[in-house]
Symmetry: C2
DNA sequence: TATCGCTATATTCAAATAGGAATAGCGATA
DNA sequence: TATCGCTATTCCTATTTGAATATAGCGATA
């Protein structure tokens, strides 16, 4: 066994509405106040980060991220209350799932190379 | 909300050791006794099915699928006891996770378009 | 020992995806 | 009103992925 991990996503049609990467991105946006700074910290292109945000905003009934194209220091982006709630629900979901699946995950992990 | 679903995979380094598609494939191989028949039923190419099996066999300490290139009716493939055990563990893991995550999944699903 | 169907693998081509660079636009603030 | 940094979008290229095809090899069994 080496690096096994549960990866839990919420698929929505052909898209992923929420997953580990998107959740991390939301947290980074919350921490840095902009998509571009979050992207840099996560070592992905601004383009990719923007796309992930766009997918999320379009999957959900309301945007999770609100962004301002201009203003002080170029504007920025922040989580909406809605976004914060979804993020928390997802994180809770992950914790509960992992906990419930621990025994099986341990078994499977032990069987990996 | 339309078609939200939890997708749970077990990642192993850069590869996916087990996931929904691989588990379904294992079941199809178990049911049909060959990779080729399983592939046909799942509407994927033999090549792709073989690759998925190959990844699984290489991620785990023992092969999950044993295959015979020749013999009656061309041989075939079947699950090893090891493979059957892993498959069951994974299916159990999914059930337990889904159950534990139900409340949060319902909340998030209701927030989707 | 010839047949048959499946495994195993290489090659080629098309398609989807990811990444990089370039650029326009925006608005608070100095 | 000029500046600045970030958002938003386009275009092009490179890489990855997937499908289709072709072919060799295998061994039970008839």
């Amino acid at each position: 066994m080496t690096t096994p991990a549960l990866k839990i996503r919420i698929s929505f049609g052909s898209q992923v509405a929420m997953g580990p990467g998107k959740a991390d991105l939301l947290e980074a946006i919350d921490a840095f106040g902009s998509i571009s700074a979050a992207a840099k910290q996560m070592k992905m292109s601004y383009r990719r980060a923007w796309e992930l945000v766009d997918v999320m905003n379009k999957c959900f009934a309301e945007p999770l991220v609100h962004s301002s194209p201009g203003g002080a220091h170029g504007g920025g982006a922040h989580l909406t209350e809605f976004g914060r709630t979804i993020l928390k629900s997802y994180r809770d979901l992950i914790v509960k799932s992992q906990l419930a699946a621990q025994a099986e995950l341990t078994k499977i992990s032990a069987a990996l190379k």
